[in-house]
Symmetry: C2
Subunit: 365 residues, 2 copies
């Protein structure tokens, strides 16, 4: 079993990575937690439930009351309505302050279940059992949230899990586009903090088909280590944690303008990273070999141009209303060099021009 | 200006008590906060708005964007619906992470606005400007919450304010029953932590008419000091903070069974305190002079018997599902002597009998 320790200021816990660990969640939880728990509430989604819910529930061997809630698969479950509904279920099941919530699924389940855990009776414990590649990012660090029509993740809090149990086997049922979505965050970790890792990835991962499980474990471990590192330094995003938004300012704007679901988070972030790399080259007059990265991205099936049905001014408007923004400015994470992330305020005019240049060109045949 | 320091583990701040301080909120806030703020969002209710909103808004002297939201007066505003609505307004106003929320009102406004502050963009700063006596209790200590049909304060978190500005003048527009409601928590602080204070109260406060402002300030300061003391010891209610629930286990059950609004929180807590005193006498075979307390309570207009339209078993059921309860037991705060609070698990049969004895007797003329 691989183990990545997370040492956030408010709490320390581990990510446990092992094939088939989903069958041992109950047993491991019992070994790990310091204070006994009274009941278990597993929250998962409609796609994950038929695949892995029984395995996780079975791992508790009926030793104590266990309840389950299956929310619809997809981003739209990170809503006020689902939040209230899950709270109702939790109360109906009689969860108390010693109950533990298990978030079994991708980032949507993790973010929603985590927000429920952080606010149920003013906060109870929870653990993450991620089943997507993207969730290697979302399951660690304690950011939990739901969406609002006026913005993604606008309502939430910080609530660290007690443990993360990662079963790489579950990733093999993931559609290719979800691999692509999660892998963008892996790449991001390379860019901002670990150039060796990025090079290793570029050498080893040419497609998402048939990655051996050992390689997946390796990849998870190294990518998680970057996140762990950053969260340890800055749990509350007052400093370096903001670097994790590399690629996200434009990425979020694209996601939001296309309508959530039209493009995956990671696909949008990939476009945003290419944009941030180009902007970095211009701002700092350096060479980051964007073309080479772009080729690799394309080989992995990412689009690197901005869909041309999007309006430049609307994208800029969205970038200005980003959570990280203050009063209309556009702040972005750029690279002063590989592994050298920095936060900069960029004039909208400059952004406008670069967006125009990165717009997808219609194939006029 | 009187000042009560609150030293919670996660944060230190002060309660500032002064007549007319509502006119100085803007100025004081500027002096106090360490990090500049970008905009102000005042949340208040429909009864308080016409009385004091202008004073508070005026105190900011148009120095920066200021937005206001008026929620309906009353407990029903601590709902998911109002929570979502206030979030929407906050987003529409473009509040960012450097905005500050001002909660102007009683415990309802404080709890709701505090929960909004604790979850807007994963947490922004807020200050309390309490306008009820009860809010001397609710504005301090960082417990924030909304209600669920299945239980009061079931959804919430811990989020300490940056400051509390208490203007005793505002209490003079408060109806007598709201004085009575808040005063129960003042009495409670005496019972669990400060017998001298309780004796002083019994000597000085024979009715809620015409208490001079100096006496009100005195009373607030001493009562707040007890709360401050307990919060400093135990912010997260893992220990002594639970003693603040003295009178609340039965109190909550009565409130909930009568339907919220039929009786004030403090009126219900008063009945609960008499109950807890009687139970304490029985359990520890001591004399706590219940009759004498009961007389004083009645003189102040409190009922001390349990409304006989309530069903004993339903009350017990509610007491078992209290947030503090685990798996069906009834845990209550009792006194082993004055100022000697303790938490005890009580057999439901014992509670049943004592409730029956405290039931209101119909006047059969
Ligand atoms: N909290 C954080 O720090 C953080 C960081 C990044 C992203 N996020 C959030 O994460 C969310 C995206 O996460 P996601 O990409 O995991 O989305 P997701 O949870 O919606 O999962 C993607 C899809 O894959 C399905 N799925 C999940 N596991 C599967 C499996 N093993 N096999 C087959 N199908 C499976 C899901 O049902 C869903 O349809 C967004 O809401 C984003 O805001 C949070
Ligand atoms: N967070 C905590 O630690 C804590 C502690 C105790 C109680 N509470 C909560 O506090 C709430 C009760 O607080 P409350 O009793 O202040 O209720 P409240 O806020 O509803 O105020 C009571 C009534 O007085 C009105 N009012 C407020 N200020 C006034 C003024 N100056 N003049 C005239 N009218 C005024 C209000 O509009 C309301 O109708 C409950 O929801 C309870 O759960 C929280």
């Amino acid at each position: 079993m691989k183990l990545v320790p997370i040492e956030a200021k408010s709490k320390s816990y581990n990510v446990y990575i092992e094939a088939r660990i989903r069958h041992k969640v109950g047993q491991l939880l019992e070994e790990i937690v310091t204070e006994a728990f009274s009941s278990i509430f597993v929250i998962t989604d409609s796609v994950v439930a038929p695949l892995y819910l029984n395995d996780v529930v079975g791992s508790f061997q009926n030793k104590l009351p266990i309840y389950t809630e299956v929310i619809p698969s997809g981003e739209s479950s990170k809503s006020f309505a689902t939040y209230e509904q899950v709270m109702t279920k939790a109360l109906e099941c009689g969860l108390d302050r010693k109950s533990v919530i298990v978030a079994l699924g991708g980032g949507v389940v993790g973010d929603l279940a985590g927000f429920v855990a952080s606010t149920y009776m003013r906060g109870i414990r929870f653990v993450q059992v991620p089943t997507t590649l993207l969730a290697h990012d979302s399951s660690v660090g304690g950011k939990v949230a739901i969406n609002h029509a006026l913005g993604k993740n606008m309502v939430g809090s910080f609530h660290q899990p007690d443990a993360v149990f990662y079963d790489p086997e579950t990733l093999y049922s993931l559609p290719e586009r979800e691999w692509r979505s999660g892998f963008a965050e892996v790449i991001k970790h390379g860019f901002i903090r670990n150039q060796d890792f990025l090079q290793w990835l570029q050498g080893e991962v040419k497609s998402f088909d048939q990655l051996p499980v050992e390689q997946v474990i390796n990849l998870l471990e190294r990518s998680l280590a970057v996140k762990a590192n950053i969260v340890a330094e800055d749990e509350r995003e007052s400093g370096v944690r903001a670097y994790l938004n590399f690629g996200h300012t434009l990425g979020h704007a694209i996601e939001s303008e296309l309508g959530y679901g039209a493009i995956t988070h990671g696909e949008a972030v990939a476009i945003g990273m290419i944009f941030a790399l180009k902007l970095s080259e211009t701002m700092f007059e350096i060479d980051l070999h964007v073309k080479q990265h772009e080729n690799w991205f394309q080989r992995l099936g990412y689009k690197t141009t901005i869909p041309n049905k999007l309006n430049v001014n609307k994208l800029i408007g969205k970038m200005q209303s980003d959570k990280k923004a203050e009063a209309g400015s556009i702040r972005m994470v750029l690279l002063q060099g590989m592994e050298k992330a920095t936060m900069l305020e960029i004039p909208p005019s400059m952004i406008e021009q670069l967006i125009a240049e990165q717009m997808e060109v219609d194939d006029v045949g």
